[in-house]
């Protein structure tokens, strides 16, 4: 669980994960928070990994996958620390992996469930990205920026060795496809942000869109190794 200044919500999220399944190892990656995020997470019984300074969402999430790889996890679930995801839905996200139908499962806010309605400009951006990524991965995807995901061993080891930087969720989906791993979306609910508005402004989203599209475009021309299992 990547977290940056989420002291108000992180305790509740950890408690909800515990309620969903007490067996889960809860790892919080504190990405240089200036509030008590790390302390609150530790008080609530999570294993806290504190980054010495803010490395950005991509680096923080990858730290989690490195931890998962080093500790030999079979599956890793990524949840945002701001309580927008409902930990009760973790089993739903895990199901395709347990059944062996997917390497990466993404919880989508736009597959019918939930009543999340973003502002019009953001919706346009989300639609455009979904369209572009759908073409690139040759299957229909609806929510490219969702941070509610589950990975199996293959996806964990891929993300541990290569994870995109700035706004990584979108690129990670394409990366998974390029490495010939299986990607599945499942519907999830989106809860409204409890504290504060999202920090994304119009200009920043425009810049973000440009950068992501550039990254996706350049990524097309990279050669990726095929996973070894395919050679057997």
């Amino acid at each position: 669980m990547p977290a940056l200044n989420e002291e108000r919500s992180i305790g509740a999220v950890i408690a909800e994960i515990r309620a969903a399944d007490p067996e889960f190892d809860v790892i919080v990656i504190d990405d240089g928070s200036t509030d008590r995020t790390g302390a609150v997470a530790a008080e609530n019984g999570a294993q806290v990994i504190t980054l010495p300074f803010n490395v950005g969402i991509g680096g923080a999430v990858q730290t989690g996958y490195l931890y998962a790889r080093d500790h030999d996890f079979d599956v890793a679930v990524q949840v945002d620390g701001d309580a927008q995801h409902d930990p009760a839905e973790i089993p739903k996200i895990l199901a395709p992996i347990i059944q062996g139908d997917a390497d990466l499962v993404v919880g989508s806010r736009f597959l019918g469930e939930g009543e999340y309605e973003p502002p019009v400009t953001r919706l346009l951006g989300i639609r455009l990205l979904a369209r572009v990524v759908s073409v690139l991965v040759r299957q229909r995807v609806t929510d490219t920026t969702s941070g509610f995901r589950a990975s199996n061993r293959r996806a964990i080891s891929l993300f541990a060795s290569d994870y995109p930087h700035d706004y990584p969720e979108v690129e990670a989906m394409v990366l998974v496809f390029r490495h010939r791993l299986k990607l599945v979306e499942v519907p999830v609910h989106m809860r409204l942000r409890g504290a504060g508005e999202s920090s994304i402004t119009f200009w920043r989203s425009a810049y973000y869109m440009l950068k992501v599209l550039l990254a996706l475009f350049v990524g097309l021309f990279r050669r990726y190794p095929t996973p070894q299992e395919d050679h057997q």
Binding site: F53, H165, Y207, L210, K211, L214, V218, F221
Partner: protein
């Protein structure tokens, strides 16, 4: 108006620059974050090269009698901005480097303490 030959040379140079940037991103020697500025540079050069009346128009508007000077002014200003940007990036890196060194030193000292304790028991 820019002479045709100059226009062609500028456009080819700009395309070359754009290709080099692309290749640097592809081979992961340049992050997208820093590539955006360079792509902008390449595109501006390309536009100035292909749109042959633009430079004179800009020079006129800014009251510069000799259009090529406008180009130098623009280029110098942009390079100044780029350098300033790098100064801020270097400052951030220096800060992070200091924090890493401090964390490592504290970690080593704590490691030494625990090992010392273990031996004395």
């Amino acid at each position: 108006m820019t002479p045709l030959r100059v226009s062609i040379v500028a456009a080819v140079a700009a395309l070359l620059l754009l290709f080099v940037i692309f290749e640097l991103i592809r081979s992961r020697r340049l992050q997208e974050r820093y590539a955006m500025l360079w792509l902008l540079t390449g595109i501006v050069i390309l536009i100035l090269g292909l749109w042959r009346g633009l430079l004179s128009t800009i020079a006129d508007a800014a009251g510069i009698a000799y259009p090529p000077s406008a180009l130098f002014v623009l280029a110098a200003f942009f390079i100044l901005l780029l350098l300033l940007h790098y100064s801020t990036v270097i400052s951030t890196l220096a800060d992070q480097n200091r924090i890493l060194a401090q964390r490592l030193a504290l970690l080593e000292s704590r490691l030494g303490e625990t090992q010392g304790n273990g031996e004395s028991r």
